[in-house]
């Protein structure tokens, strides 16, 4: 078993772990981390494929560099959404109970 296929399997495992977290955990921060784990798993599959035959494939590596920046932008936006949602809910809760 060569290094490339080891990391291919590891990438698939990380992706699955992230999927499991996304489906089963409830806290928004944990879910955002889970999505990031899925992204890391995908990147690992791509980079392992890039190094499969000894010489590195610059196209796949460049795609992953782009993907990293896109991932951090999406994470930043998702975290702000989660914080805004939390603030909204804590503002809503007292009035909601009052109406009941």
């Amino acid at each position: 078993m060569s290094g490339a296929s080891l990391y291919l399997g590891l990438g698939v495992l990380l992706w699955l772990l992230g999927l499991h977290g996304l489906l089963r955990l409830r806290h928004p921060l944990r879910r955002i981390m889970a999505i990031n784990l899925m992204g890391s798993g995908t990147f690992m599959v791509m980079v392992a494929l890039a190094s499969r035959s000894g010489h590195n494939d610059p196209v796949l590596q460049a795609l992953v560099v782009t993907g990293l920046v896109v991932a951090v932008s999406a994470t930043a936006f998702a975290l702000r959404l989660a914080v805004a949602h939390q603030a909204h809910r804590s503002r809503q809760r007292p009035t909601g109970e009052h109406e009941e």
């Binding site: 490339a4 495992l13 499991h20 795609l63 990293l68 991932a71 951090v72 702000r80 989660a82």
Partner: protein, 303 residues
């Protein structure tokens, strides 16, 4: 493949899996986030092992550094999670389903490793014409420049989206004196190393993304230490910095489409200079946008 290298790979893999599990299932959310940051650092090591130093640099700065600051600052504004009652039946079903999906995915992915790999030879044969000598930079800014252009647009979109949300201003905790002292030393270093990575990017691993992320890390550190004034959105210079990357890239692309060989096709003699120019502008934009994404508050992003 020597046994020691395999041992290192397996150790790294097991550590990554343990840290990923701890990030999701650590008893306290704080523990989970710290595990996630450690996961990012180890991932940078894996990229280096797989022969992708560009990625290792970017991951260490972006994946581990900036994402960590983002998660920790979001944690400060979140209520702690309620304890989740675990159900044995659900866990068993998840495990079964997980193993099934794992087998399916492995059957799909593992054969890919035996496929032909025509792209490296193709890139190397065209490298002379691209204007730079580092293949990853050539792909990012010449052969697949569309990706980079759209990525800058996504970054801009994220900044605009965060700005719309009007994040609540929160008093920062008191500044630790040692942090101030250290950031006075580390911030100039981040400028020097960022500039070096940018300059090196045309012929060796490095480039606009890594340099931009490092500069952003420096700005974030100074801002957290209270040494930098507010980054105000009304400040024209800041808006110019956020926009200059996309603006210059689009100008070059449109000029090529009107007067030259076509959209994002650089003229042959100018391609080296144009790529460096775009990289400098993109570095500034990435640094400004990432800093705003990480430390932008209502006073900074609001009207």
């Amino acid at each position: 493949m020597p046994a020691t290298e395999l041992l290192l790979d397996i150790t790294l893999g097991v550590l990554l899996l343990i840290l990923a599990g701890a990030a999701l299932h650590g008893t306290r959310l704080y523990t989970g986030i710290i595990s996630f940051i450690a996961f990012g650092l180890l991932l940078a090591l894996v990229w280096a092992r797989l022969g992708a130093p560009d990625l290792a640099l970017a991951e260490a700065a972006i994946g581990a550094g900036l994402t960590g600051v983002l998660l920790l600052s979001a944690l400060g504004r979140h209520a702690d999670e309620p304890a989740q009652p675990g159900s044995a039946v659900r866990t068993l079903a998840t495990l079964l389903l997980g193993v099934l999906v794992l087998i399916l995915l492995l059957r799909a992915v593992l054969p890919l490793a035996q496929g032909p790999q025509p792209l490296p030879a193709l890139v190397n044969s065209q490298l002379e014409a691209s204007g730079v000598s580092h293949p990853v930079t050539a792909v990012l800014l010449n052969f697949r420049a569309w990706d980079t252009l759209l990525e800058l647009l996504v970054l801009l979109l994220a900044v605009l989206g965060v700005r719309q949300l009007q994040p609540a201003g929160r008093p920062r905790p008191g500044v630790w004196p040692l942090l101030q002292a250290w950031s006075r030393i580390l911030a100039p270093l981040s400028v020097i190393i960022g500039g070096y990575l940018l300059w090196r990017g045309s012929h060796a691993p490095g480039g606009a993304f890594q340099a931009g992320a490092l500069l952003a890390a420096g700005v974030v550190m100074l801002r957290l230490a209270g040494l930098l004034p507010l980054l105000r959105w009304e400040n024209g210079l800041l808006r110019l910095l956020v926009l200059v990357g996309v603006a210059l890239f689009l100008t070059v692309a449109a000029a090529g489409a009107w007067f030259g060989a076509g959209w994002l096709n650089y003229p042959a003699h100018w391609s080296g200079a144009l790529i460096v120019l775009i990289e400098v502008a993109a570095t500034l934009s990435i640094a400004a946008s990432l800093s705003l994404l990480v430390v932008g508050e209502r006073q900074e992003l609001g009207r």
